[in-house]
């Protein structure tokens, strides 16, 4: 049974690729409105965890519950419908579509109607389209992208593309937002802005957020609780303060150049 009101509950999740155990006995529970960070050095298995949570990979052992529902036989799109949305480490926008359409597609599950309704332009079609348009513009305003609604997504500057990806994910109205290395490729200033944006949306939409980051600094500043992975195992978890002091974590991170770890 899943933990009553947990948004996400991963229990003893293990995945093996051939003989390689990429992640073993991973446990994570996220309550509503929590801000959790998942960190670890390169190759620790962070993205693999993400891909299991979102249904791209199937865990070899263990179970994952989203909103109390076991997602074992779910496809990624079904998991999204349970109230979980994500961004991608290497931005995956719909490049040849407009910024506005990107956000509208993010809200797909909420503005669906049949092909027949689309062809006949029924009242249902008009209602859904107006709602989609309205909600999308509102979201773009929050991210300061409303003036660029008509641009092709591929023509946005890099930082804006990252923000658009978050806007697109929010458009699905998730209860839990998964951010996969949102600061990757951003400079210091942009990272500051992003930090502020994440805090803002956390407050405004009253959602829980799970951030995977390579950049320790950002996670330390942002998150209430941090889970540290190394070699597929959870080596520590706790508040930023506890994690910072933890000798196992320091060792794991000092094992590689400090600059890369962002300390």
């Amino acid at each position: 049974m899943a933990n009553g009101n947990a948004l996400l509950d991963a229990r003893d999740v293990t995945i093996r690729f051939g003989g390689l155990t990429a992640v073993s006995h991973f446990n994570l529970g996220i309550q509503p409105h929590e801000l959790v960070g998942l960190i670890g050095p390169n190759g620790a298995g962070k993205t693999t965890v993400f891909n299991m949570l979102t249904g791209v990979y199937k865990p070899t052992e263990g179970q994952i519950f989203v909103g109390g529902v076991s997602t074992h036989d779910f496809k990624p799109y079904q998991i999204t419908a349970l109230g979980m949305a994500r961004t991608f480490q290497n931005i995956r926008l719909f490049k040849e579509l407009s910024v506005l359409d990107n956000v509208k597609i993010g809200g797909h599950i909420h503005y669906k109607y049949s092909a027949a309704a689309a062809v006949l332009k029924t009242n249902r079609f008009h209602e859904a389209e107006e709602a989609a348009e309205h909600d999308a513009i509102e979201l773009l305003k929050i991210f300061g992208l409303e003036n660029r609604a008509g641009y092709y997504a591929k023509n946005l500057p890099y930082g804006d593309q990252r923000r658009l990806e978050i806007a697109r994910a929010l458009s699905a109205q998730p209860k839990l937002l998964l951010l996969d290395e949102p600061a990757a490729g951003l400079n210091d200033r942009e990272t500051r802005d992003l930090l502020q944006t994440i805090r803002d949306i956390h407050k405004r939409f009253d959602i829980a957020i799970l951030v995977i980051e390579h950049n320790m600094e950002l996670v330390m500043e942002l998150c209430e609780r941090i889970v540290v992975l190394n070699f597929g195992k959870t080596i520590a978890q706790g508040t930023p303060g506890q994690v910072r002091e933890n000798p196992v974590v320091i060792e794991a991170y000092l094992g590689e150049p400090a600059e890369a770890a962002g300390i």
């Binding site: 979102t54 791209v56 496809k75 990624p76 799109y77 999204t80 419908a81 949305a85 994500r86 991608f88 995956r92 926008l93 719909f94 490049k95 040849e96 579509l97 359409d101 509208k104 597609i105 993010g106 797909h108 599950i109 503005y111 669906k112 109607y113 049949s114 092909a115 309704a117 689309a118 062809v119 006949l120 332009k121 029924t122 009242n123 079609f125 008009h126 859904a128 389209e129 989609a132 003036n147 660029r148 609604a149 008509g150 641009y151 092709y152 023509n155 946005l156 500057p157 697109r168 994910a169 699905a172």
Partner: protein, 349 residues
């Protein structure tokens, strides 16, 4: 005809207007006293069928991004099935009726039923072909759809009741300018309204990035199959009208060369551009007709049309792989220079 009317009434009014224009054109064109008007009329009708085929393939290839090389197969299913229904069931019944308005009316009712049934069977075929596409990457899917088209053809070759290798002759001449262009117009409207809707956006999302589409809650499987079903339905209807217009079907017509022809139209117009498909279908219908006379200057009367056609296709892909209009529509291409307000601001490089 504004938003204040209920949706069904508004569309009905537009439809009535369109029908009136088509009826006017159908009679008007016949009345033009030019030598060889029947020939031009025939080309016009074939053009209408080609436009329908191109627009329907554009839904699959251009919007949903599923590369299909089997469109001739869907067309064949629609053509043969509707012809079968008419030849064995509807025509004998119609012959028993006394000539007159009632017979004329029933003829058109039968035509609509036959053609719709052809479209539905083609849609079923599209559903079956769409299923494997879920697991296949672009170029594999191309081969599977091509193979499917060939399987259909081989099966037709083995069914004696629909003429096998001899071809299916004796189909009544019920199709005409009016029906072909009514379907053509509807196909364009359907495709246009789809792409402006959440369904169409889901198609585009699948085309752009399947993994991201799936993460946005889009059941990519479902939408791929949907694109196949809609596209093949329209192709089947076009095939049915083709059968009832040319009155003769031959399995060779539906070789994959025909599929390639339709693909060439869609690619020439720009994958994903509806108006591009229409313009390209018009060009590629008239071009071979225009080149007909080139044959007379060739030694031995050999026909260089297809050679020119293939060279054009290669040169086009090498010089302008995005097609005439790219992904945009006709008016966006020409309207861009004039209309540069904030919403269509020039993209940042």
């Amino acid at each position: 005809m504004t938003k204040s009317l209920p949706w069904w009434l508004r569309d009905l009014l537009w439809l009535a207007l369109f029908v009136a224009v088509l009826v006017g054109l159908a009679y008007g064109l016949d009345a033009i006293p030019i030598v060889g008007m029947a020939y031009y009329n025939r080309i016009l009708v074939l053009m209408g069928i080609n436009i329908t085929l191109a627009v329907s393939l554009n839904i699959i290839n251009g919007h949903a991004g599923q590369f299909s090389l089997g469109h001739a197969g869907f067309m064949a299913v629609g053509a043969y099935f509707s012809a079968y229904l008419t030849f064995y069931h509807f025509a004998p019944r119609l012959d028993k009726m006394p000539a007159g308005t009632e017979q004329w009316l029933m003829q058109n009712v039968f035509l609509v039923i036959a053609v719709l049934c052809g479209g539905l069977l083609a849609a079923l075929a599209g559903y079956l072909v769409g299923l494997p596409s879920l697991r296949l990457r672009g170029d594999y899917l191309a081969i599977v759809t091509l193979g499917f088209g060939e399987i259909i053809r081989v099966f037709i070759l083995n069914i004696d009741k629909i003429g096998a290798a001899r071809g299916f002759s004796g189909i009544p001449h019920w199709g005409n300018f009016f029906w072909v262009f009514l379907v053509c117009g509807l196909a364009i409207v359907i495709s246009w309204r789809l792409v402006q809707s959440s369904v169409g956006r889901a198609f585009l999302a699948v085309r752009e990035d399947q993994v991201a589409a799936e993460a946005m809650g889009i059941d990519t499987t479902r939408y791929k199959v949907k694109a196949f079903v809609i596209g093949s339905f329209l192709a089947g209807v076009a095939g049915g009208l083709y059968a009832h217009y040319t009155m003769y079907l031959n399995p060779q017509t539906f070789m994959f060369v025909k599929s390639f022809e339709v693909v060439a139209m869609v690619v020439l117009g720009g994958l994903g551009s509806i108006s591009g498909s229409v313009v390209a279908a018009v060009i590629l219908t008239f071009l071979p007709e225009g080149l007909r006379s080139v044959k007379d200057y060739m030694p031995g009367g050999r026909d260089p049309r297809m050679v020119i056609y293939s060279i054009m296709l290669i040169v086009l892909m090498l010089t302008r792989p995005q097609g005439l209009f790219g992904r945009r529509e006709l008016w966006q291409v020409f309207g861009r220079k004039k209309k540069r307000d904030q919403s269509e601001a020039p993209p940042v490089q």
